[in-house]
Amino acid sequence: MFRYTKVTLLREIGLWALALVFLAPFYFLVTTALKADGEIYTTSPLALPKTPDFSNFLDVLTATGNSNVVMGLVNSTIITAGSIIGLIALGSITGYVISRSTARWSKGTYYLFLIAIILPGQLGAVPLYMGARALGLTGSAWGMIILYTGMLLPLAIFLYSNFFRGLGTDYEEAATIDGASKSQIFSKVVLPMMAPATGTVTIFAGLIVWNDFFTSLIFLGGSANQTLPVAMYYYIGSLVSEWNSIFAIVIVSMVPILALFLFAQKRFIQGFSGGLKG
């Protein structure tokens, strides 16, 4: 019934045209970043660069640009990786226990996490900042990892407990018969099976933490341990309209995440549609 017809071809061509218009911003991003200083003021913004000039990238990535981009890259990587590890460790075990328990408290705990997902972060931001400052967690990568783990934990637990509920207990029962202890069951039987849930948690949390600006602006602003978005915000604020330099730093900030996305796009998109349906 639904076969490939001439109308389908037309639809396909139409969507490609739409995609080209939709992705036009990337054209401006790349061409402008490759233009030399003088060229951005003299040529049309629509034109290609006369000769690609990579000096903007060198400026941004070295001390000459007086930017903290490299430091931001390092910090963002540490904080993102640390938060993901924290979320997987705490999220999997908490999600497991509350979805396997038959006790009454487990349902209440599940709702405790569910409500925390909708609870707007802005309201807690001020006291959280005060508390973190008192504990000496502001301005450090450790503090950010703890904060992000706590902030995203409800989401991770939600994804994990949905996963465990869809997973039968047959393997765990079998392991019990074989004499495995509770911790052995978790680490040797359950842990290897939950890779799909871990993948989704990694994608969600990784993207949110890597791109987050609000939290890191508040907790790391003015410190020496800025993340990439904060370093980018301050650096760009110091440039007037040197769009080629601005875009060099924008490209540097987006290449890691975009490369990861293009590499794992299938799982990425599945994580989004499947994880949310969960």
Partner: protein, 319 residues
């Protein structure tokens, strides 16, 4: 396999577990709530962290909304004074209007656009997966990076004005982001660009669940494209609509990064939102009490719309 056969006799008193465990163990079936797998205290670190970071912080934040604290030194409880100040201040009322406009505008346009693209990509298209990847790309970028790209595009010397001049419509060229009338629309464009791909993916997942046979049957019965969409496809993707719009509204109401990067709230407060106001009041102006009050207003607006949205789009109470 043999191992799974044996426990049946041993666990004869315990009810046989199905593939899905209904509810979060709603009925305490095993005596005394004893856990078959795992120890209950494994959940403690997670519970403590979430209570501290979400509930305690939010609770304290709610309390500060009724004080005149500046961030340092002593403070006193001032009752509803902060809230009265919010509703008397045109900047903050403007921020409220802008927030609602941006949230609903971006949800509406982003979802309609996402649905149209998803429908276009649905079935038979040979390059549907490549196109899906391309349309999804903006979602992955940080809102900050996205905002800087668009800031250039809307710049007075940027591509849009250059394009308008090139096609002989140079009179329409304007400093979009500096124009109080147009600035908010440019912000809307940026938000829609960043969210369309997200809606598209959710709709594509929803559309994949629509049975081909039903659609074909409707087509054979003479239903046209619109009728098929209205009576077959749309009811089937209602859960997807619910998810996409709820997340979109919650996201849209908290919009912060793009505003800070695009306009900083200007010109003359024309693009100020509640989230940027919270930040400015609490962290830049040292008015913690006022910032917390504003955050409380924002929190209630978000909760209000999230609940309404869930009620409206829920297909059946079981979901």
């Amino acid at each position: 396999m043999t191992a799974t056969m044996q426990p049946k006799t041993e666990a004869a008193d315990a009810p046989r577990r199905g593939r899905r465990i209904p509810g979060a163990g709603g009925k305490a079936r095993s005596r005394g709530g004893a856990m078959q797998f795992g120890h209950w205290w494994w959940a403690l670190p997670g519970i403590v962290l979430v209570i501290a970071i979400h509930y305690v912080a939010t609770g304290i934040g709610g309390y500060f909304a009724f004080t005149n604290w500046t961030g340092i030194g002593s403070f006193k409880v001032v009752g509803w004074q902060n809230f009265e100040a919010i509703f008397k201040d045109p900047t903050k009322l403007g921020a409220l209007t802008n927030t609602l406009f941006l949230a609903f505008g971006s949800v509406f346009l982003g979802n309609v656009g996402g649905l149209i693209i998803a429908l276009g990509l649905n079935r038979v298209l040979k390059t549907r997966y490549i196109l899906r990847t391309l349309f999804f790309m903006p979602v992955v970028l940080s809102p900050l990076a996205t905002a800087y790209i668009w800031k250039y595009i809307f710049d007075f010397d940027g591509p849009i004005n250059a394009f308008l001049t090139a096609i002989g419509a140079g009179d329409l060229a304007k400093p979009w982001l500096a124009d109080p009338q147009w600035a908010i629309w440019t912000v809307l464009v940026v938000l829609v660009w960043g969210s369309t791909g997200f809606a598209m993916v959710i709709f594509m997942a929803g559309l994949a669940g629509v049975p081909v046979e039903v659609e074909e049957a409707a087509a054979i019965d003479g239903a046209n494209l619109w009728q098929r969409f209205r009576h077959v496809v749309l009811p089937a993707i209602r859960p997807a609509v619910a998810i996409a719009t709820t997340l979109g509204i919650v996201q849209g109401l908290r919009v912060f990064d793009p505003i800070m990067a695009l306009t900083g709230g200007g010109p003359a407060g024309a693009t100020e939102t509640l989230a940027t106001q919270v930040y400015k009041q609490a962290f830049a102006l040292g008015n913690f009490g006022g910032g917390a009050a504003l955050a409380l207003v924002l929190a209630f607006i978000i909760l209000f719309f999230a609940v309404i949205q869930q009620r409206l789009t829920r297909s059946n109470p079981e979901d």
